[in-house]
């Protein structure tokens, strides 16, 4: 069902965990199947210096979480915001059709975390 790359990221996910003093945190839940994902960001000079995730969900949810953190790490915020669910799925060599929404979750969590960071920045000013 899953590509080998999905299985690699699922069984050996990158960037699992929390960042205690995160600059931005985004949590999204998918109403379709009740899964949840949180992304933590450490930002330096408008760039994602560190990124971690926590996910409650299926193999695809975990793999896409891992992949999105790998893709986003080191990118500027504007670059990171451009990552779509299709980009994530493509990097994983595809996902089964009924699992595409899981990659949406990952992209949304990243966006939510960046927005959280920007909101906090705006509040500071």
């Amino acid at each position: 069902m899953y590509s080998p790359k999905v299985m690699t990221h699922f069984s050996n996910p990158q960037n699992v965990g929390e960042i205690p003093d995160a600059d931005g945190v985004g949590t999204v839940g998918n109403p379709v199947c009740g899964d949840m994902m949180t992304i933590y960001l450490k930002i330096k000079d408008d760039r994602i210096e560190d990124i971690k995730f926590k996910t409650f969900g299926c193999g695809a949810a975990i793999a896409t979480s891992s992949m999105v953190t790998v893709m986003a790490k080191g990118k500027t915020l504007d670059e990171a915001l451009k990552i779509t669910r299709d980009d994530v799925a493509r990097e994983l060599d595809g996902l089964p059709p009924q699992k595409m929404h899981c990659s949406n979750l990952a992209a949304e969590a990243l966006t939510a975390a960046i927005e959280d960071y920007r909101k906090k920045q705006a509040a500071k000013k």
Binding site: D35, M36, C58, G59, I62
Partner: protein, 387 residues
Amino acid sequence: MTMKRVYLDNSATTKVSDEVVSAMLPYFTEKYGNPSSLHSAGREAREAVEAARARVADAIGASPAEIIFTSGGTESDNIAIIGGALANKKKGNHIITSAIEHPAVIETCRHLEKNGFKVTYVPVDQEGILRLDELEEAITPETTLITVMHVNNEIGTIQPIREIGKIAKEKDIYFHTDAVQAFGKVPVNVDDLGVDMLSLSSHKVHGPKGVGVLYLRRGTPVRSLVYGGGHEKGIRSGTENVAGIVGMGKACELAVRDFDRNVEQMTRLRDRLMDGLLKIDHSRLNGSRTKRSPNNVNISYSFVEGESMVLLLDMKGIEVSTGSACSSKKLEASHVLLSCGLDPETAHGSLRMTNSKYTTEEEIDYVIETLPGIVSRLREMSPLYKK
């Protein structure tokens, strides 16, 4: 690398017994006749089919004339329900079933609902046991058929079939039970249960896939779903799957012969697994402790998702299943778990482990050793879990 695999998904399907395969083999390349043919090869095939019919009848206390061979449990359920509903259409258009049936029953009832029938889905209690009082209340003068499964395929709950049988008889309503998961695990005798129709599936009892049985008590009217040469008393046309039917006959014979031994072993291993896996914190047993199939363990682990557990267990050579929404085609949590009152989140974390006569204690112990690490690894990853 060869990894020994631990197969604990026997409610999905079972390994075919070697004895069953041996019984089937001659019917592919030596005794390959068509039972409808007049000549020796045909008669030989006919005899094999009738011998299998007698064995199946014997196994459930029926007479051979009451046994219809079908292509599987799904088709048996469909003939009983659609065929039964249509045959009794003049008497009424109301059917009663339970909320936790297999899709072969639920989807069939839904189909009938789209075609002018009314269906009541009687709820179950927290252990998944049908509420008899609600069943009785549901009966109307229009009710022509009650269909309630004997043993549930997900949580292993055993339903009060005998009691339902009495109610049905009293009210003169035909009664069908899907005994696909019951046969070989609990005693299945059609008179004792008081059923008019009963479904079996070969591949759930170490027989081949693609063969089912519909028991039809003498005089029970059903309409056919498939038309043709008039095989199986006109109820199921199509050249008989001789090898498969022989396999099903053998599988039934073995299931009855070894019933006590198998049940003793399955029960022991079920309890060992259940006790071992309930030691993991934030776990709960789904289904009933006492009215439970000897081979079924179903446990929910909070804060983790079932598909992930299934995949990680698979990497360790352990094959199980889950009622998680994520693993279903429609991304809906198991209707059985929800009907028992679980919230969707807890249903998400469910695992079903179903053993068979081939399961060993060593295998069970390996699962008990392996699962805790997987659960805690996934919990570490879960945003919901706070130590």
